[in-house]
């Protein structure tokens, strides 16, 4: 996918995965890959900076817990994060509808 279209998409995908329940980095990347049928393959070099950025901006809250004998960092949505997720989801729906309308109209004419 064109990287310019991905601008802001990573944050939206992360917020969406975490909105279903608290999660950690590896799990988030696996869910994104699985739910996009392999279309989005979030590299760790993009995923973790996005997670930390959302945490600094107060959209995600982090807690540490023991798992498999290791420290694991879990993320969950804050109240602000929930609002941001809803807004981004609605905005994305409008974007998709707009693009689909144009593409569908073009194919109808042709």
């Amino acid at each position: 996918m064109d990287s310019r279209l991905l601008w802001g998409i990573v944050e939206m995908l992360v917020l969406d995965v975490v909105s279903r329940g608290q999660s950690y980095g590896y799990e988030i990347s696996q869910q994104v890959t699985a739910q996009s049928a392999g279309y989005f393959d979030l590299k760790e070099g993009s995923l973790y900076p996005a997670l930390h950025r959302l945490e600094r901006h107060g959209l995600l809250a982090a807690t540490w817990a023991e798992a498999d004998g290791r420290r694991r960092k879990y993320y969950k949505l804050t109240t602000a994060g929930k609002k941001a997720h809803a807004a981004k989801t609605a905005e994305w729906a409008r974007f998709v509808a707009g693009v689909s309308g144009v593409l569908g109209g073009a194919s109808g004419v042709a």
Binding site: Y26, E44, G45, Y48, P49, H52, R71, R72
Partner: protein
Amino acid sequence: MWPESLSSNLPPPHADEPVSLRQDIADELADHLAAALQDQRLRGADESTARQLVLQRFGDPSQVAQQLWVDAMKEPIMRQRALLVLAALLVVGVFAANGLAWMAFRQLRESNAALVARLEGFSAPRSPVESADLTFELVKEGSGAPAVGYGVELLGSAVDADSPLTLEQTSDARGHARFGPIRPGSYTYWVSAPWKWRTERQGLAILAGQTARRIECPPNPKPPQESHAKINVVWPGELNERLALACEFVPSTPRFSIGDVTWTKATGFRVVRDLNGKSPATVQGPHGSDRDEWLLGRFAEPPTQEMDADTYDLATFSVLRRTGRQDGPTRAGYQTIFQGEGSIFGQFAATAADEAVWTIEVPAHIATFSERELEAMDKEERVDSAGDR
């Protein structure tokens, strides 16, 4: 190569760094790598292949760790740099303020010292040896006889005085003009003959003690004789009554030298002919004086011009227009609308013996102004006056 310790590859510790930041980054990435490795094992890969696949996907864990550390510390580092810049500016500002205060203090101290010195100077009696007795010895050129009745003007400032000094003396029977006591300083002086001839400005440094100066003067045995020449201005045709003609006469040889001193003849005069007057009118002003100081108060006076017997040139002639700005016949009530060289009229020799009549025929091309042109000038004058208000 499987990373053993991610935190060891991070940048050096920073003062504002949270205590757990390094460990948190290392633990989070290590958990990710371990989970991914476990996943690969569950998929059946051997240990070596599993690690290779995990690292192939992850990339360089140290680089990701460094990026996370930089992202987390960017704000504190920038804040610290901003504080450092602010502190540096404050230090510079304090130094600058101290410098300005020191300069102001020095200036105040110097001005106070100068004031105290001046006050001491006022209160303390001045020593007579600090002053000078200045005597001008005026003699006639050639004979060396005393030049009696000549004037000397002295202008200048003493080194210990702020305001300039102006003094005048007339030479006595011995040709002496005395000034004193004079404080040492830088002065200038003029010597003038009784008949309006005077030297150009001369410089003089007065030192303590006696100072004398010998000046050779024109030996004129008697003042120039008065002439009763007439000025007859002839205008071409019928002219507007608001016009006048001003002629400025100067001696044909206005300067001459005696020794290394240059003398000038201040014997020029001006004649103004006003067509609105009942008769030719004249006015006399010192040659070289400001034109605006002319007083045209002698309209309708006898149409003769008293002047020293000499040869004169008509230096300039001007066509004047009477304005509405000022009542009465003063120069300020006239505007110059044309000025030309007077040499076209030749020289005039005024002698005491006869009453010469100098006829000045004003050329028509300079003296003719239409009523429309004069009205336009009136209009411009009204606009200017409104603008002044």
